[in-house]
């Protein structure tokens, strides 16, 4: 009997706090936007904050938040609107993506940004499509995302491009003829990029050993041993930052003496921290090299350093990731589209997006007939294990 009472009290207390929090909600949101006349346009942020890709998603979100901090309002149809970010966590999981997307849809966003990770982008796509809400992909590089969709755009380059860039780089810089490609099962980004790299590398006359690992795997020693045994000259591992940290650690302790190559996801200080002071040779392709726009760097660093949460989300320091830059640019592309549409109606924004052009920190952005950004350059960076920073290596382009 006592227990019954206790449990009832417990539940009641819980519900009480919930309701209390609930009631205050509208007040809280009006608090933060009380300055203007109350016109609000909502931009959805569809990013992972937890799970495998949580680190990357947070850095991308950071760029969006910073942009929102710099430019909190937008003029649509001659009227000043406050921009409110609706941030939702898709948990890096394809099966959680549709309901996360639905949360944004029911929050009434005019346009959504995201996601880091191609799989969740594809998985959430249809929910947005059904609701007629346009989405701007920030760093999701798999071709399937925009293919056949009129509502999905993206401002980054694509995997076939990135794969070719990296294959060329491996071939030219290291004279590599044998590559070890390690991809994650069921991860569209990883599988896709691995596939295009393999295609390009084999076209250059190279040989590829392909291996896969399963979700939840944290033991990479066997893969590293295999790579060594097979006599591979480069180790290509498109994967999440979480896997990267483990892989780097184990590669160093096993004395893997060949270069580690990876795509845009590895452009993160997680990698730098893992590599610092270790004997590893890491190259990544990415969208931005710190120092490309000193003014922007300075501004965002100041902001990150002033906000403890932001700093924690950036991995504990103020290194500017390419992901953050892309997030920043994506926000402005969304604003441009809103301006051009002259309305907060998602359909109008969708229509306007086709013709948006914008010069962002990461370069010129405009969309082709599929909705992909017209980009033809990627940066290659090298992790400096002594200073714990990225060294610029080359800007690579691919002849069409």
């Amino acid at each position: 009997m006592k227990k019954r009472v206790l449990s009832v009290l417990l539940v009641a207390a819980m519900l009480g706090t919930l309701l209390a929090g609930c009631e205050k909600k509208p007040e809280a949101s009006t608090d933060s936007t009380a300055s203007a006349d109350g016109d609000v346009v909502k931009i959805g942020v569809f990013e992972p904050a937890s799970g495998d890709n949580g680190a990357g998603g947070k850095q991308e979100t950071l760029g969006i938040q910073y942009a929102n901090y710099v430019t909190p309002t937008v003029e649509i149809g001659g009227k000043e609107y406050n921009v409110q970010l609706e941030i939702v966590d898709n948990e890096s999981s394809n099966d959680k993506a549709p309901s996360a997307a639905a949360t944004l849809v029911s929050a009434g966003v005019s346009v959504a940004l995201g996601s880091y990770g191609s799989g969740v982008s594809i998985a959430g796509s249809d929910t947005f499509k059904e609701a007629g809400i346009p989405v701007i992909g920030v760093t999701c590089t798999n071709p399937q995302i925009t293919e056949g969709n009129t509502h999905y755009f993206r401002i980054c380059f694509l995997d076939p491009f990135q794969g070719t860039v990296l294959a060329n780089f491996a071939n030219e810089s290291f004279m590599a003829t044998k590559a070890y490609v390690l991809t994650k099962l069921g991860d569209d980004y990883s599988t896709g990029l691995g596939h295009y790299f393999t295609e390009a590398f084999e076209a250059l006359g190279g040989e590829v050993i392909e291996e896969t690992f399963q979700e939840g795997n944290s033991d990479f020693t066997s893969y590293i041993t295999s790579a060594k045994n097979e006599g591979a000259e480069v180790f290509f591992a498109p994967s999440s930052t979480e896997v990267a940290a483990l892989l780097i650690e184990q590669a160093a302790s096993q004395g893997l003496n060949i270069p580690l190559l990876a795509g845009d996801t590895w452009d993160s200080n997680v990698i730098l921290n893992a590599a610092e002071g270790k004997d590893v040779d890491i190259y990544v392709s990415t969208f931005y090299q710190e120092g490309g726009n000193p003014k922007f760097d300075e501004g965002i660093k100041e902001w990150i350093n002033s906000d403890a949460t932001a700093k924690a989300n950036n991995g504990g320091d103020d290194t500017v990731s390419g992901l953050t830059v892309m997030g920043y640019d994506a926000y402005y592309v969304a604003l441009e589209a809103l301006k051009a549409a002259g309305s907060t109606d998602p359909a109008a924004v969708n229509e306007a997006l086709w013709d948006v052009t914008y010069t962002g920190v990461s370069g010129d952005i405009s969309f082709d007939e599929i909705g992909d950004a017209k980009r033809n350059a990627a940066y290659i960076k090298h992790a400096n294990t002594e200073t714990g920073a990225w060294d610029f290596v080359a800007e690579q382009t691919v002849a069409e």
Partner: protein
């Protein structure tokens, strides 16, 4: 006569529910959270009832549900992707080997059948095992199925470990309700038939059941196959709901979730599983989401402990509270019925009357 009125009442209730849904759908945009929860809730209700058929009614502790859902989902997806989209879906496998597609209802049933066939094969060796060993073995089989479906060599059929997409999805929220409703109806009919009684006998006492001439191997196999059949159908529905599917979604965590639904609803209660499912999905996907909002204030006090992830902590605390303090779940092993509600209120009413009557006498 009384039985007839009961049936009429129940049918009326279901019809009213469907009508309500139909009306709601005309008013509220279909992508709203309410419908997401309702759709997913209906699908999970079906799979929870199918699991209850095994764990609750037959007493077989099986943890293979996610594996059978995977089979259903893949079968559905593979058979319904329009031929013209196959090239883009199976981009790494030259469009795959299947170059036709069949209507949705047929594909759903095919999904159920494939799951049932696998269940039959798995059941032959595994169902001889007892309680926990059975649970672990079925869990193991689900994991093996998942690995096989991610295998590159099967790529032309399964698209390897990559997403399957572009298959037909729900046009209306009524669809999953009708399909799940029919399936649950069939399960209820089964449970109330002589076979259902045999299942319950096995649950209560295997040795006595066997002594009463109930063939254990045959009946366990039957329950396992039927449960898997419906798990397969719910897998197909889940594919329709998710719009994309992938083997890596069907982890053992999914089975645990379903098991939690069954327990929260009440082991051995069909309506409990249904109610549990909607509550579980609504809490995990919808009602608690505001807890993740880091900008909440009570007056001027910033609720700084509320940030992404807090929702899940609260949710798991709620689950623990139910598990510890309401061991029998919401419904125990009873069923929800109009009759039951009427009796419940009647009792309350009578009590009240009695109390009032008593006091007036004084």
């Amino acid at each position: 006569m009384k039985k007839q009125t009961k049936t009429i009442l129940n049918v009326g209730l279901i019809a009213a529910l469907l009508l309500l849904l139909f009306i709601l759908e005309q008013i509220i945009p279909s992508s709203s959270m309410l419908f997401m929860v309702l759709k997913k809730g209906a699908i999970y209700a079906l799979v929870a009832v199918s699991m209850n058929l095994l764990n609750g009614f037959t007493g077989l502790f099986s943890l293979g549900q996610a594996g059978f859902m995977l089979l259903g989902a893949y079968t559905y997806a593979i058979l319904t992707i329009p031929v013209e989209s196959r090239d883009s879906v199976y981009q790494y496998f030259d469009g795959g080997i299947i170059q036709f597609s069949i209507p949705v209802p047929l594909a759903l049933i095919a999904g159920g059948i494939v799951a049932a066939v696998f269940a039959f094969l798995i059941g032959l060796p595994v169902l001889r095992l007892k309680s926990d060993y059975l649970a672990i073995a079925t869990l193991g089989f689900a994991e093996i199925i998942r690995a096989v479906f991610q295998w590159d060599k099967l790529g032309p059929l399964t698209n390897g470990s990559n997403l399957l997409r572009n298959f037909p999805t729900f046009q209306s929220v009524l669809y999953p309700f009708i399909v799940a409703g029919i399936c649950i109806g069939l399960i209820v009919l089964l449970i109330n038939s002589t076979y259902g009684r045999a299942f319950k006998a096995i649950r209560d006492d295997e040795i006595a059941a066997e002594a009463m001439g109930i063939n254990l191997a045959h009946h366990k196999q039957l329950a396992f196959v039927i449960s898997s059949f419906f798990a397969g159908i719910s897998g197909g529905l889940l594919a329709m709901y998710q719009t994309t599917i992938q083997a890596s979604m069907f982890k053992s965590a999914m089975t645990y979730e379903i098991l939690l639904i069954v327990v929260i609803g009440g082991i051995g209660s069909v309506t409990g599983s249904c109610i549990g499912s909607f509550l579980f999905i609504a809490c995990s996907e919808w009602w608690l989401r505001f807890l993740d909002n880091s900008n909440l204030y009570i007056g001027d006090f910033h609720l700084s402990f509320m940030r992404p992830g807090f929702r899940k902590v609260v949710f798991s605390l709620m689950i623990m509270a139910i598990v510890l303090f309401y061991r029998k779940g919401l419904m125990g092993d009873r069923e929800f019925s109009v009759e039951g509600v009427r009796r419940f209120f009647q009792k309350r009413f009578k009590k009240k009357q009695a109390v009032e009557g008593g006091s007036s006498h004084e």
